[in-house]
Every structure is written in structure tokens, then in C-alpha cells.
């Protein structure tokens, strides 16, 4: 397999780094020589990856502008060749890349992370959400031990900047606000119409959802809420929060766990 392996290594080195050793093994004719032929592949390689970045990160692209985004694409493609079968994962490390290389604009990494969270929520695993009347059918004595799990599409996006308002403005083709530090939490999930949706979360809601994700029952989950509100307010908060999550399709029956 020595020759085949060498030829493939040369071709890959050409695509990734422009190393031209492969040209000696490619034929030419009077109309188009070997180097021009090879360029069709290297152009195609870069265009395909650029297009993936532009489609998956259209809001980031419009925020950065054509020139800066093209430069980002070039740098990212050079630094992070694809290690995935599917192009949808090509830019999985883009948020980290932006945080590292564009640290003076921290909202860029968050914007990319937000777009990726939306994308992965869109085609996350299917699982039946709880029926709308789940809580009404739950007997009072069943509440404390009740365990619930997140819908597989649900993600919590923690933002240190006004990234989501920036995303919303750009999506509506409006001028985005200036970046400012602004801590916020967002739930992203796929609704019953299979469309991705998001909304902001209070700290208390985040705490409740985290507890559910950790497999805690409602009784234990309520203990975390004592950090946010007096004990007498907890039942009402729990009831209304859970009803809202269930109506939105964010929760499912608890997954049975092996002990």
C-alpha cells in the first residue's frame, strides 16, 4: 500500500498546506496542466469549508462584515482541518478559536457558540415531551419524589455579554447594539413544531433546571430554590415554572438510570 498511501498523503498535504510534491505524479495536456488541474481541488476544498462557515454562522458573518469574516475563514480553515465525516461539525471548535484569537472581541466567540447551540438543538434526538396536563394528573403525594428530564434538544446558554440581543438585531437586519458586559442565561430548545426556540432564564429557573438535569427529584430541587426566595414562595414558583416548561416541550419523563 506504500504508493497509494504516499500519493494520498501528498494530495492531502497539497490541499491543506499547498505542498506541491503531488504535481510530479499528475499528468498534463496541451489545454490544462497538472498544476491547474490540482488547483480545482484546492479551490474546491477551501470554498466548501468557507461556505459551511458562512451558512452555519450567517449572523456572525454579517456582524463581522465580509472582509473580516473572510479573514476568519482563512485562518480557521488553516488552523482547524475537518476531522468529521459531516460538515455540520466542521466548525465545532470555532467558538474556542474566536475566544483564543479574537479575545479583544469576546462577543464573537459567544455569537458563534449561540449559533451552534441553535443548530444542534434543531436536529437533536427526538423524545416525547411531557403531556400538557402532566402536573394536573400528578397526585400531591407524588410530587416530592417526581423526577423529570430535559428534552434532548434543551441547552442552557450562559452569556457574559449582550450577545443574544446582538444576534436578534442582526437577524432582523437592524443595527446591533454596542457590545457590553451583561450576564444572562438562555434556554434553547426545539418546540412541538420542530422549530428552535429560546428564552431568557432567571437564576432560580436555571437552578431548578440544573437540579432536574442532575437527576434530583422535585423535593431536592426545591432545596436549591431557598437560595433565591423565601420557602413559602417555592410551591407557587415550582408549579408555574414547571407548567411553563412542560407547555413549551422542554421536559420529558425521567430517563431510568442504572444504579
Amino acid at each position: 500500500m506504500a504508493d497509494l498511501q504516499q500519493r494520498q498523503a501528498q494530495m492531502m498535504a497539497y490541499l491543506l498546506h499547498g505542498d506541491n510534491q503531488i504535481a510530479e505524479h499528475v499528468t498534463s495536456n496541451e489545454r490544462i496542466d497538472g498544476n491547474q488541474r490540482l488547483e480545482i481541488y484546492s479551490n474546491g476544498y477551501r470554498l466548501r469549508l468557507q461556505e459551511t462557515l458562512a451558512v452555519d454562522h450567517d449572523v456572525l458573518a454579517s456582524y463581522m462584515g465580509d472582509e473580516a469574516f473572510a479573514s476568519l475563514c482563512e485562518r480557521f480553515i488553516e488552523a482547524s482541518p475537518s476531522r468529521h465525516k459531516s460538515l455540520r461539525h466542521f466548525a465545532d471548535t470555532l467558538p474556542e478559536f474566536l475566544a483564543e484569537r479574537y479575545g479583544e472581541y469576546p462577543q464573537l466567540a459567544e455569537l458563534a457558540a449561540f449559533e451552534r447551540a441553535l443548530m444542534f438543538s434543531f436536529d437533536a434526538e427526538d423524545k416525547a415531551p411531557l403531556p400538557a396536563d402532566f402536573l394536573q394528573r400528578l397526585a400531591p403525594e407524588e410530587w416530592p419524589a417526581c423526577e423529570l428530564s430535559w428534552h434532548p434538544s434543551l441547552h442552557i446558554f450562559a452569556s457574559a455579554y449582550n450577545t443574544v440581543p446582538i444576534w436578534q438585531s442582526l437577524k432582523q437586519e437592524q443595527v446591533p447594539p454596542a457590545p457590553v458586559e451583561q450576564k444572562s442565561l438562555w434556554a434553547i430548545w426545539r418546540n412541538a413544531e420542530r422549530l428552535t426556540q429560546f428564552r431568557s432564564l432567571q437564576g432560580s429557573e436555571h437552578s431548578l433546571l440544573r437540579a432536574l438535569a442532575n437527576g434530583e427529584n422535585l423535593s431536592h430541587a426545591c432545596e436549591h430554590l431557598l437560595d433565591f426566595m423565601p420557602e413559602e414562595e417555592i410551591p407557587g414558583f415550582l408549579q408555574s415554572s414547571l407548567q411553563g416548561y412542560i407547555a413549551s416541550g422542554m421536559l420529558c419523563a425521567a430517563t431510568k438510570r442504572n444504579i
Partner: protein, 286 residues
């Protein structure tokens, strides 16, 4: 000679996101759909919902673009497991991938890169196809790719290599008529000689597509309608291979579904004309 094909699904289209809702609601006059396997190797959500719903109404074939059968990397068993899971769900009429390599050292070019046509490459890809078929529990269709380079060490023509691969791996052919035309122009070979070099018994499906013609070379872009020269080559293919499941691929500048169906009607008309001509000739000579 009576040509018969038990596996002829008729005339199909590539199922694309833009047309999901229209296909499901309108039940257009398309005999079957081909899906890109990788687009549905996801957990759930809209793509899988539509695939399952459309599968209830149409035969589906699954076409993969990243098995990288010719690569000297080992076959990606995780990918094959995920593909098999989808095959079990969708139960396609058949599955296909390409006579090419895409990945090396774990890095994916996301392109269909041509093989050198050597004995070494032949044995290597045959072994991988056999392994993939054993794992998937079925014969695969292997498609010829468009190519822009020829390796100086190639010791046989593309069609000799392709034919030897399918015979030795005991797989089937997804013959891409546009790719034959593109490669014939790029490498100055006779496309009809290519067709004559193919064993009709191995041909299970044909692809048609548009390309971008730059004069000195052609790039397989799937963003234009099928051109006349490719229609003419398709007629020759039908003449040689008889009725074979045929579909049109369109991956960019995707037009309205009606426009693609009108293009598919051209394929139906050409196939019918060629086959009717053959019958007449058969009677005349009979």
C-alpha cells in the same frame, strides 16, 4: 434482446430540504427519492421527521458521500454503525457511495478524490468495499466520480478500473452519466467507449446532473440543468443498459420542484423513445 430489470424504480429526484413540505403535501409525480445519508445521520428533529413521513409514501435510496472507501485509513466503523442504524430505520431500496477517497490521517477533505488506477489501489478499495458490504449486510452501489486529475502511474482506464472493482468486490454500479461526460472532457477519453466497457448486469442506478463548463475543463457543480450532451449520452446508456432507475441530482441553485420534475420528464421521454425504438428494431429484425 429483451432487457429486463427487476430493480427498476423508475425516475427519481434527490430529496432536498427546500422541497420537504411540498413533497409531503403535494405527493408529486416522482417515482422515488434519493437522500444523502449523512444529512440524516442526526439524532432527530425536522430532517428525520420528513424522511420518515416521505418514506411512507415513496421508495427511498440512500446515497453516502463520506465512506472514503479508497482511503488508506482504516474504514471508520463508528460511521458504518451510524449508517447501519439509519439503514435499519429507513429500509432503503439500496445504499451507495463513491469510487474515491476523502479522508486521510483522520482529516476529511470533504471531496470525492480520485484513485490512481493501479493494481494496488484496486485491491485496496475492493477489500474495503467487501468489508463495508459484510458489515452492512447487503450489496452496495458504487458510483464513478468526476475527476480533474489523472495520476501518471495509472495502468488502466477508469472504466477498466471501475469494472474490475465491481466484479472483484461483487458490488453494483451507480453510473453517473454526467460524471462520465465531465471526466471524458477533462481527460480526453471517449465517453461511449466508457459505456461499452461497462457490464450491463452490474448497473443498478444512474445519476444525471448539470455542470459548469469552463471550456478547457468542466467542473461537476450540480447547479445547472442537465446539458444536451449529457442527455445524448444518457440515451446511449439506456440503449446499452435498458431501463435503469434514473434520478437527477441538484445541490445548488435548487429550483422549484416543478422545474425539476419537468427535467425528469425529459429523462422519462428519452428513455421511452430509446426503448420504443429498440422494440421496433426488434420487430423489424424479428
Amino acid at each position: 434482446m429483451e432487457k429486463h430489470n427487476d430493480h427498476n424504480l423508475g425516475f427519481g429526484l434527490g430529496l432536498r430540504t427546500d422541497h420537504f413540505e411540498e413533497v409531503l403535501q403535494g405527493q408529486p409525480d416522482v417515482d422515488w427519492f434519493e437522500v444523502i445519508s449523512e444529512n440524516f445521520m442526526v439524532g432527530g428533529g425536522k430532517p428525520l421527521y420528513y424522511l420518515q413521513a416521505i418514506r411512507e409514501q415513496y421508495p427511498i435510496v440512500m446515497h453516502g458521500v463520506s465512506m472514503s472507501l479508497g482511503s488508506t485509513d482504516p474504514l471508520d466503523m463508528d460511521y458504518l454503525k451510524r449508517l447501519k442504524h439509519l439503514v435499519d430505520e429507513v429500509k432503503p431500496s439500496w445504499i451507495s457511495d463513491h469510487l474515491c477517497w476523502s479522508q486521510l490521517g483522520g482529516i476529511n477533505s470533504h471531496d470525492l478524490l480520485p484513485m490512481p488506477y493501479t493494481e494496488e489501489a484496486l485491491h485496496h478499495i475492493v477489500s474495503n468495499i467487501r468489508q463495508a458490504q459484510d458489515f452492512l449486510g447487503q450489496q452496495m452501489l458504487i458510483e464513478n466520480v468526476s475527476s480533474y486529475i489523472s495520476y501518471s502511474e495509472s495502468a488502466m482506464t477508469e472504466w477498466e478500473f471501475y469494472s474490475a472493482v465491481v466484479e472483484e468486490a461483487d458490488c453494483l454500479m451507480l453510473l453517473d452519466i454526467n460524471n462520465i461526460y465531465v471526466s471524458a472532457r477533462n481527460h480526453h477519453f471517449d465517453a461511449e467507449r466508457y459505456l461499452k466497457g461497462i457490464n450491463p448486469k452490474r448497473v443498478r442506478q444512474m445519476h444525471l446532473a448539470g455542470h459548469s463548463d469552463y471550456g478547457d475543463y468542466i467542473i461537476d457543480t450540480h447547479d445547472h440543468p442537465v446539458v444536451d450532451s449529457v442527455w445524448q449520452l444518457y440515451a446511449k446508456a439506456i440503449e446499452r443498459f435498458g431501463p435503469v432507475s434514473t434520478m437527477i441530482e441538484r445541490d445548488d441553485d435548487i429550483p422549484a420542484l416543478d422545474e425539476l420534475i419537468a427535467e425528469l420528464d425529459q429523462a422519462r421521454a428519452i428513455s421511452a423513445r430509446v426503448l420504443a425504438g429498440e422494440k421496433k428494431a426488434g420487430v423489424a429484425h424479428g
